[in-house]
Amino acid sequence: MKYVDEYRDADTARALATKIAGLCEPGRRYSLMEICGGHTHTIYTHGLEDHLPESISLVHGPGCPVCVIPMGRVDDAIALAEQDDVIMTSFGDMMRVPGGRGSFFDSKAAGADIRMVYSPLDSLKIARKNPDKRVIFFAIGFETTTPSTAMTVLRAAAEGLDNFAVFCNHVRVTPAITAILSSPDLHLDGFVGPGHVSTVIGCEPYTYIPREHGKPIVVSGFEPLDILTSVYMLMQQFADGRCETENEYARVVPWAGNPKALGVIDRVMEVRDTFEWRGPGWIPESAMQLRAEYAAFDAERIYQVPGVRVADPKACQCGEVLRGAIKPWECKVFGTACTPETPIGTCMVSSEGACAAYYNFGRFSRSRVKEATSA
């Protein structure tokens, strides 16, 4: 495949791996967090860790939008979906995420009209076809998907489509990074920065991380060579004694971001005072909501959602996994009570979740497998 194969070449990877190994200081361990779930997925599907020396470990961060949705929010959405005149639309990832009273799938099986869509614009189509129903789009994602939700609201407003609304769960990436940086059990050396989010917000918003927290960050693409290159760039910074924000994904990410997309977000949405994340808990200014001018499209203003807080199951350690304090397999219920089939925590639900990625792709002893595959 053009534009893909050249970023998946094994020989280039091996050459890069040798250079990375050469930059490792003897006796020093490096802990690098990839913030984005897309990166986690790439790392596991391509077996990228096989190219890294043992002294470098990758920690999987909170950048999986599905994984950070707290159970109370799922329950709120289900309460909306259960209204007789409501059709709820959602991305497929969200369907199996457990709330306090089951998932969208459970609610759908019990009779609620919940439909999977590939784009928020599909929700508008459904709204046009069902004028006697209210179509509520379960909006989710970091800044990557926020502009498309904002555009959809603008389109609905322009068309006067008054039976369309958004249940807004858009989150912001930098407050989450700040929350991780201020956790007491932190032992990270640097960050592989999110790629898709940065196509919208650019690299500038990350510069406080090296400046104020002393950790370098390299914004990275999603192909395995992108990530390996970003690791190399971080290692080079350590070797040079630098601590900077760098852009590996310059072929897509402009330093200043995408002003048009940012403009659309700003027109339709504003920052919430605070928002609950699964794992880290309440983080100030970490999510978006619709501006008052667009109240007619805001499900949280049209309906009084229950807003009940549901505590995570005690055994679930998603929070510690999400801030990199433990590896997925170190969680007490990993792979036994909590599996992709019957997830307890959200990290096990989405294929981008750290636990699901580890369970689906990495559930084996690397030393044993080296023998099995060396033939």
Partner: protein
């Protein structure tokens, strides 16, 4: 209360003539001079003896009621297409004469959406799928049954197209459809047409093929490019606004399996057709049942660029995407070359290739050596990214 007829809502112009009635009269023209009762009775008898023709454009509940309409449907559509001496008897069950020996018996239901897709339709799947299940047991497929569940309002022309495809597929596979059933359910209670087929086949070879028979050192072969059917059906739904030049691979595999078994004999440990769940699922079944590791080479997997591209866009892994005309074979190492040559010599196996080997450790796992130079697990899929693919 009286109705104000002046404001009644117009509901469109009515027919200016009853076309169906006029057609019926024309069909019986030339007999108007008959007036005596026995002449009329004779005329009715002759009309009833005529080859039944289905006049309705859509299936109605009466087609499933077991009466005249059902009989007409059976004779005009099913018997007409599938005609063979056993079916013609229209008994409650078919009596089959088979040589003494072992039989393979299988059944499968088909609910694919859409019913028609590039490269085939539900009828092709219903015949080929069951033929292939028999072929994977090492059997020579002989007889099939066909059960139809039709939704009220389903176009008769569509049913005729499906049935014609089934007849053609049965002929190509050398099997007869010898018994069947039809039910009609109310509009909205089904999605057009569902088909269930069952089949029997003759096990002529003294072989037992089993997912539990794989041994360390064995070789894993696949008969051609994978994922074509699943991606074709997914795109045919038209929900994704992606267009691609690709058709379903639906085909009967009994010919290629016979060639393979002739060439590699008891060196063949097991055969599976890679339908729902794709190649990845089969390899997992083998790993679990045989207690072995299946080690696959990502670079060796035969995947068309268009399937790879569509999968990349949809975020699915082609290893899990269904095929309807591809098989996976696990073969003893000393017979692997002969087996591969036999597959490649068959028209349906031109793209056959080795995709991996069986190892001893770690048992129960499928490992993939990635093109990037790493290793990962290929696990059973959770959830269904592609529902109603067959």
């Amino acid at each position: 209360m009286t109705q104000d007829l002046g404001s009644a809502i117009p509901i469109g112009p009515g027919p200016t003539r009853a076309g169906w009635a006029e057609e019926a009269v024309t069909a019986h023209a030339g007999a108007e001079h008959l007036t005596r009762e026995e002449q009329v009775l004779e005329r009715i008898a002759r009309a009833r003896a005529r080859k039944p023709r289905i006049r309705e454009e859509r299936i109605t509940l009466s087609h499933g009621a077991g009466g005249k309409a059902t009989q007409t449907l059976i004779e005009a559509v099913f018997l007409e297409a599938f005609r063979n001496p056993i079916l013609e008897q229209l008994e409650d069950g078919a009596s089959l004469s088979t040589p003494a020996g072992r039989l393979a018996f299988t059944t499968d239901s088909y609910v694919v959406s859409p019913l028609f897709f590039p490269g085939g339709n539900i009828g092709d799947l219903a015949v080929n799928g069951t033929v292939n299940d028999l072929a994977m047991c090492g059997a020579r497929p002989l007889h099939l049954s066909a059960g139809f569940i039709l939704e009220e309002g389903f176009p008769v022309a569509d049913l005729q197209r499906i049935v014609a495809s089934m007849a053609a597929a049965a002929e190509a596979a050398g099997v007869q459809i010898v018994t069947g059933d039809t039910k009609v359910v109310e509009r909205g209670k089904a999605d057009g047409c569902y088909i269930t087929t069952a089949g029997v086949g003759l096990l002529e070879r003294p072989l037992t093929l089993s997912a539990a028979a794989a041994q360390p050192g064995d070789v894993v072969l696949v008969s051609g490019p994978i994922g074509d059917h699943g991606i074709t059906v997914m795109l045919a739904r038209g929900e994704l606004d992606i267009e691609a030049d690709i058709v379903s691979d639906t085909a009967p595999l009994h010919g290629i399996t016979a060639d393979l078994l002739d060439a590699a004999g008891d060196g063949v440990r097991l055969l599976r057709d890679a339908t729902r769940g794709g190649v990845a699922t089969i390899c997992n079944e083998v790993a679990t049942a045989s207690g072995v590791a299946v080690v696959l080479e990502e670079k060796a997997l035969p995947i068309r660029p268009v399937v790879n591209g569509a999968s990349e866009l949809l975020g699915i892994d082609p290893m899990y995407v269904a095929c309807e005309g591809r098989l996976v074979a696990v073969v003893a190492p000393d017979r692997a070359d002969a087996a591969l040559a036999a597959l490649q010599a068959h028209p349906l196996g031109e793209g056959a290739t080795k995709i991996g080997t069986i190892g001893a450790d770690p048992p129960g796992l499928v490992l993939l050596k990635t093109a990037f130079g790493g290793t990962r697990i290929v696990d059973l899929l959770v959830g269904d990214p592609l529902p109603r693919i067959c």
